[in-house]
């Protein structure tokens, strides 16, 4: 695959590039990136000679943004075991449609990815059928039961880049302590699904007046915050690498901010739905707005945005959680938690730039270099010599979200019908060019 992307605006926080530039890709590798003076000289030379290289596809990216492929460190690909919800093939196709060229899949499959054999299966399947790069996240404990540590070292050797019991918290504090201690030997982050199950106690939406008026059991913000505080204390105790998944409350942002001030080794992510929509979306018993942690209040939404602005929250991840329509057609309390997020994440996130909470550069950091740094991936960059994983974005294109047109099998989104601004027009990944 040889491609020349011309006339675009290159934005690459990893190299501090933010200006006009051309990118030449040869055999799936970034051969050359020309910006600034080099670009001007090149333009002059070309006008003289009047010719370009042959056998190269040229993409005119005039008026478009060229950025490193986005990294989503929190998705559920559902394979093995729940292929009726999503497969590695469909999930990664949805990813590249959304501008992601790397996704990290959570271990709550069937069987659970708590053993190197499952890790090996996912990586092999992703190589065969995946449209983008897939890095598995291994389970912290065997069967995600929160009792005995899984073989973290062996799974890391097989390709797991982080460890989490996502979907389930590690309720036992000693087990979590051991995980944070033991994982230091392998320099991998432990990702906390922060939920005190004794406080969330079968709740299905945010606790508050709306839950009362709908007759739905509430989950207090404290169910999340109690666990985040516990895990911060355990990270402090052990010196382990803690990453907090899907931060959803104002109190959680404060806890992480304080912990970072005290120099504790903690990072955090949030998801587009926690800064784009409130618990109001649940009215009418809308199961597509049922997610865990639950959608919160406008006060929380504001705090999440501030946390992204000041860097308390390092990463935007989707927590892409596809489900079958039949499951989401159940009564609210019986429907599964989750939002299919890969195909709306970029548009929703660009909303933060539009609203002035983030610069484009800051947004890209939270979608590329920051997750790459946390996970130790040499990705999220357009440096010459690296594999060509990039996205060409039309920031100005407005479009209406149509769930039925999702490439993901999961059409469970609370954003159906919402008009978003900014979408990928090309995704280049694994030696292929996707034109949207």
């Amino acid at each position: 695959m040889n491609v020349l992307i011309k006339n675009g605006h290159v934005l690459d926080p990893s190299q501090g590039i933010d200006g006009p530039g051309d990118i030449l890709i040869e055999a799936g590798i970034i051969k050359e990136i020309k910006t600034g003076d080099a670009l001007a000289r090149d333009e002059g030379a070309k006008r003289e000679s009047g010719s370009g290289a042959s056998g190269i596809r040229t993409i005119d990216a005039g008026g478009l943004l060229i950025v490193p492929g986005l990294i989503d460190m929190h998705v559920h690909l559902r394979e093995p075991g729940f292929e009726y919800k999503e497969t590695i093939r469909t999930g990664t196709l949805a990813a590249v449609k959304g501008g992601f060229t790397t996704v990290c899949c959570m271990p709550n499959t069937s069987p659970v990815n708590d053993h190197a054999s499952v890790t090996e299966f996912i990586i092999r399947k992703a190589k065969q059928e995946g449209h983008c790069t897939v890095h598995p996240i291994g389970a912290i404990t065997k069967g995600q039961r929160g009792e005995e540590l899984a073989e973290i070292g062996t799974m890391k050797s097989e390709g797991c880049i982080a460890f989490s019991d996502d979907g389930q918290p590690v309720m036992n504090s000693t087990v979590m302590r051991r995980a944070l201690e033991y994982s230091k030997a392998f320099n991998v982050p432990v990702i906390s699904h922060s939920e005190d199950l004794t406080l969330s106690e079968g709740g299905v939406m945010n606790e508050g007046l709306i839950a009362v008026t709908l007759g739905l059991r509430g989950i207090p913000a404290e169910a999340e915050q109690v666990m985040i505080f516990r895990d911060i204390l355990l990270a402090e105790l052990t010196g382990g690498r803690l990453h907090i998944a899907h931060v959803s409350t104002a109190g959680s942002v404060n806890l992480v901010r304080e912990a970072k001030k005290r120099g504790i080794n903690v990072t955090a992510e949030t998801c587009p739905h926690y800064f784009s929509v409130t618990e109001d979306a649940v009215r009418g018993y809308s199961t597509n707005a049922k997610v865990n942690p639950p959608l919160r209040t406008s006060r929380d939404v504001e705090a999440i945005k501030e946390g992204l602005t000041d860097g308390t929250i390092d990463v935007i991840a989707t927590d892409h959680a596809p489900h079958h329509a039949d499951e989401k057609s159940r009564p609210f309390d019986m429907a599964p938690f989750g939002i299919s997020g890969l195909e709306t994440a970029l548009g929703l996130s660009l909303g933060l730039v539009e609203e002035g909470f983030l610069t484009r550069n800051q947004l890209l950091e939270r979608l590329t270099v920051n997750p790459a740094r946390i996970l130790g991936l040499g990705k999220g960059t357009l440096t010459a010599g690296s594999e060509a994983e990039l996205v060409v974005i039309d920031e100005k294109r407005e479009y209406e979200v149509k769930a039925e047109e999702f490439l993901s099998k999961g059409r469970n989104t609370p954003f159906d019908g919402r008009v978003l601004k900014g979408m990928p027009v090309f995704t280049i990944c694994k030696g292929k060019i996707y034109e949207w």
């Binding site: 007046l209 009362v212 008026t213 007759g215 739905l216 018993y285 009564p331 309390d333 019986m334």
Partner: protein, 306 residues
Amino acid sequence: MLNSKDLLGIKELTEQEILLILDTAAGFKDIIGRDIKKVPTLRGKTTVNLFFEPSTRTRTSFELAAKRLSTDVVNFSVPTSSVVKGESLLDTVLTVQALGADFIIIRHSSSGAPHLISRKLRASIINAGDGTNEHPTQALLDAFTIKEKKGKIGGLDIAIVGDIAHSRVAKSNIYCLTKLGANVRLIGPPTLIPKEIEDLGVGVFHNMEDGIRDADVLMMLRIQTERQDKGFFPSTEEYSKNWCLTSDRITLVKDNAIVMHPGPMNRGIEIVSEIADGPRSVILEQVTNGIAVRMAVMYLLAGVKR
């Protein structure tokens, strides 16, 4: 005229709609007091009672209401149905509709189950209790009973005592009585009253004596003993000591105050027999009025243009 083909909750009704139902029910109460209790109004229509939770009084009340309007009534019995074979709720109700149901009376343990099916069906859905959300016909029959006994609802001081958090009866009554202008007070232990509920325009009391003082109406709720296992209160004995309607406490209410209970009662736990069976009690009249109110609801829903 009602605005919707369904009765999903009191939340969804306007004050005018509530008053229309109560006025219509008064006419039906005359009919069911006669020797010949049946009218041909809805002959040829079919009613299906679809109860996913056990119920005797509400199901029987709906069945009698439907029969007195001359509809054919079928009781869809859940334990013997395909639901136990894993059929989804939507498949079950679509089947029931395909069998020709014009009215589907549904009780379900999930809040919002009637709302879910109402979007998919042409039949009129009547909520007979969904999870901890609403039990609208209970609130309507309570309002009917209060109006009958007191001549009005606006301005009355009405105390609801018990497990507010888990009671769909309490929720529907809060919406209904506040829409009709009553002053509603909720009484019970803090573990059983959500703190946000004051935003609905009600007063909250944890001390029974303070809460019932000078009330016009007392509504006692059934206390479910399984709440004790979940730690909402330490024992039924302690609950009774603090929140049972006793002969001592009843002296605090207005002289002409009435006492209500949606049933079934736990005698000696939330209400003592002397009061349940005493002159202030309108508990059995609530049951009778239930039929008239449910007839009114079905009659009015049948008239809603599709």
